[in-house]
């Protein structure tokens, strides 16, 4: 099952990492957590090679429905 791993340090910073996703499904899932943090500063935003692969896990389909 795809996972988002979120790490929180003691300076108030955090890092979100999608694991097991293919395609843009990860971005859709992380957006749920990012949308409530409009005032925060994004220091890094990297799309991994898997992001550009077709989604075959069904998560993307679920999101489209």
């Amino acid at each position: 099952m795809p996972k988002i791993i979120i790490k929180y340090d003691q300076t108030g910073a955090m890092e979100m990492d999608g694991q097991g996703f293919k395609g843009a499904a990860c971005e859709t899932a992380t957006k749920k957590f990012l949308s409530a943090r409009a005032n925060a500063t994004v220091t890094d935003d990297k799309k991994k090679p898997e992001y550009f692969q077709a989604n075959t896990s069904g998560v993307g389909l679920q999101n489209k429905l």
């Binding site: 099952m1 795809p2 996972k3 988002i4 791993i5 979120i6 790490k7 929180y8 340090d9 003691q10 300076t11 108030g12 910073a13 955090m14 890092e15 979100m16 990492d17 999608g18 694991q19 097991g20 996703f21 293919k22 395609g23 843009a24 499904a25 990860c26 971005e27 899932a29 992380t30 749920k32 957590f33 990012l34 409530a36 943090r37 005032n39 925060a40 500063t41 994004v42 220091t43 890094d44 935003d45 990297k46 799309k47 991994k48 898997e50 992001y51 692969q53 998560v59 679920q62």
Partner: protein
């Protein structure tokens, strides 16, 4: 892994989550309490005081940390003792307090340390709420060695 995002400058926006984070830390033994009400006064240097919406009181600290709602930014501004003195640091918890550790007298940024833990706890609770609202299962993993907290979110 398809996407990696790093964020900083995360602000307090929900007082109910601040309340929950303070409760959690206090239950674990952190010397912290949240003071709320219509007339909240935070303590500053040499008896200086300021009216704020809420205040975080930390045991062993001479100063409080104030929370003041900023309607424009839709977040709580964190007011520290040095800000009350007009020395705007831009950082959180700049009020330093002398504290003795291990027999050696040293100065630590006690407020900043506790406030950092509060920020961390606030963020994890907030994400647990977001996950629950979206039907996602979560699991906390703490690393006492590094102080980093981790939340594993299963996306269905």
């Amino acid at each position: 892994m398809s996407h990696n995002v790093k964020l900083k400058d995360l602000a307090f926006t929900d007082i109910a989550v601040v309340r929950a984070a303070v409760k959690e830390l206090a239950r674990e033994g952190s010397p912290i309490q949240l003071i709320e009400g219509t007339e909240v006064t935070m303590r500053g240097w040499r008896g200086a005081q300021a009216k704020v919406d809420a205040c975080i009181r930390i045991e062993n600290s001479q100063y409080d940390v104030g929370l003041q709602w900023n309607a424009e930014k839709k977040q709580y501004d964190v007011i520290t003792e040095s800000m009350m003195r007009g020395e705007l640091s831009g950082g959180m918890g700049a009020a330093a307090t002398s504290k003795t550790i291990g027999g050696n007298s040293c100065t630590v940024d006690w407020n900043a340390m506790v406030l950092g833990r509060l920020h961390q706890r606030y963020n994890i609770i907030r994400d647990e709420i977001t996950a629950a609202r979206n039907g996602m299962m979560t699991k906390r993993v703490n690393d006492p060695a590094t102080g980093i907290m981790q939340l594993e979110v299963e996306v269905r």
